[in-house]
């Protein structure tokens, strides 16, 4: 059964140095507050996993929390590049960043395999591209019935998955709606999971399009209103597009970024 914790407690208990950590969200419901708490608690050597690493991953990478990134599209959506990500890949700043690169279809299927207790998934993917030559976790597989060649990718089973949802009840049952991406799979694939929510309510009223994660597959729930900002939470707040634009300026420059980081962590410059 999910425990109700503060964000600080939850990150302290669930996220350890060296862990493989997925903070998932597909434009919507991105667990930004949880990512920034990981920065505040100075976790190191994380293998970060996400289909669409965006600005909170840029922040984690710039803060030196990660030694590896497993991903399929890394950018500031609607704005441009992730400068901290680029700087880490191109210039090892502040620490080298290993990358393991897939397509969305491959990543989604890796989470599906992880959620399903299977060691791998099969897809029609990567054919003719240069990705298999750079990524060890893409292999051919033959259909035992037709002889056809397809592609296999290994399961993703993060040590911890963190997602943000609209609501949980007091038992820790979680409800999210709107675009829910790969969040269910990412939680089910993980050894431990944390869900930050906009609010804890007495009862989860059924809603169109709602995905429910029962409390018995969630390790901890933390109430963090606004925890997805500057992304959006359908029914709660809109995307803050200006913040995404503004990040471009901050992320572009090591000095600007360092100031931002010191502000976040409370270090005096």
């Amino acid at each position: 059964m999910a425990e109700l914790l503060s964000l600080e407690q939850a990150v302290a208990r669930l996220v350890r140095d060296g862990d493989t950590v997925a903070l998932e969200g597909f434009t919507h419901l991105i667990p930004v507050a949880a990512g920034q708490e990981i920065i505040r608690q100075r976790r190191r050597d994380l293998t970060l996993v996400r289909m669409t690493p965006d600005i909170v991953y840029d922040q984690l990478i710039g803060a030196g929390c990660a030694r590896k990134l497993i991903f399929s599209w890394g950018g500031n959506p609607g704005v441009g590049s992730l400068h901290r990500f680029r700087d880490a890949v191109q210039h090892d700043w502040p620490v080298p960043l290993e990358i393991e690169e897939h397509s969305h279809a491959g990543m989604a299927n890796r989470y599906v395999a992880g959620a399903s207790g299977l060691p791998f998934a099969v897809l029609r993917g990567y054919t003719g591209t240069d990705l298999p030559a750079q990524t060890d976790t893409i292999k051919p597989i033959t259909c035992p019935f037709t002889g056809e060649r397809l592609t296999a990718v290994p399961a993703l089973n993060p040590d911890v998955t963190i997602v943000h949802a609209q609501r949980a009840d007091r038992s820790g049952n979680v409800q999210m709606w709107g675009i829910t991406g790969v969040q269910k799979e990412a939680v089910l694939a993980a050894k431990r999971s944390l869900v930050t929510v906009e609010e804890v309510v007495d009862e989860l009223e059924p809603r169109p399009g709602a995905v429910v994660l029962p409390a018995w597959v969630v390790t901890a729930v933390a109430e963090v209103p606004g925890g997805a900002k500057p992304s959006y939470a359908a029914g709660y707040y809109e995307r803050d597009n200006a913040a995404y634009q503004a990040w471009d300026e901050v992320g572009r420059d090591r000095e600007e970024f360092t100031k931002w980081l010191n502000d976040l962590t409370g270090v005096k410059a």
């Binding site: 609607g78 590049s81 969305h104 989604a108 990705l131 709107g178 675009i179 790969v182």
Partner: protein
């Protein structure tokens, strides 16, 4: 006489025209999304838009700011999970057109959105990566590309094949068993390119009104072939421009 318009507006209008009514279209964000939404307003009210965030049949009233804009979910016939959109909807080849952008494109329609430079481990520029494109390019019935034409973007050979177009020429897709027909149209701010029926090399088939052929050739990083039957794109109609500008205004 038609109204004044920018090269980008011409590009969006030309891209929109390529989408027929009743088609299903897997839409990339940015220029493809703008064109697809213009098409739905202009001449293809029954165009089905599918976004990789899981929105099937989205009918946004403004341009989505990202692939996962709430407007897409609110107006969709159905919102499904990301694994489902790739496995149940894209992979089996149900979708007529994949509409993509690109950072770098080569003369056989191969797409690079991964790295600029020859060394993947030590790139000159690290780009965002593949996203949904490799499987969109593989599985859709055909692929339309929309991007601004320049020698940096239009190269002889892409530094990295993120998404397979026609490989090294006609027949490569069949050899690899790729189900879709691959890129059949590239829409730029200067004109339209289509793969040569025999070689699959991208060939200029239309110039936008007022664009000199020489400009298109100079904006291409390979020795651009030009169709014997080079045509001029019809200029945007007033209706098209009004719809496009309204759409952009509603999205500002």
């Amino acid at each position: 006489m038609s109204a004044e318009y920018t090269a980008d507006e011409m590009m969006s209008v030309a891209a929109a025209r390529a989408l027929g009514d009743g088609m299903s279209c897997f839409v990339g964000i940015g220029l493809p999304s703008k064109a697809a939404n213009l098409a739905r307003r202009a001449h293809a009210p029954n165009l089905t838009l599918i976004y990789e965030s899981g929105c099937l049949g989205a009918k946004p009233s403004r341009l989505p700011l990202s692939i996962g804009d709430g407007e897409l979910a609110d107006t969709a016939d159905a919102v499904v999970s990301v694994p489902e959109v790739f496995n149940y909807w894209l992979q089996p080849g149900r979708i007529d057109v994949g509409f993509l952008g690109a950072a770098q494109l080569d003369k056989f329609g191969n797409i690079n959105t991964t790295v600029i430079g020859s060394d993947y481990r030590d790139p000159k520029v690290r780009l965002p990566g593949a996203g949904g494109a490799p499987e969109i390019a593989a599985s859709c019935g055909e692929v339309f590309l929309v991007l601004r034409q320049s020698p940096r973007a239009f190269v002889e050979k892409v530094d990295f094949v993120t998404s397979f177009g026609h490989g090294t020429g006609r027949g490569d897709r069949e050899k690899l068993g790729l189900p879709g027909r691959g890129p059949t149209l590239v829409v730029t701010d200067l004109g339209l390119l289509r793969p040569d029926p025999e070689t699959a090399e991208l060939t200029l088939t239309e110039l936008h009104p007022g664009v000199e052929l020489d400009r298109a050739i100079k904006a291409t990083g390979w020795k651009l072939k030009v169709s014997d039957d080079l045509k001029t794109t019809p200029a945007p109609t007033e209706q098209e421009l009004t719809l496009l500008r309204d759409l952009e205004k509603a999205s500002a």
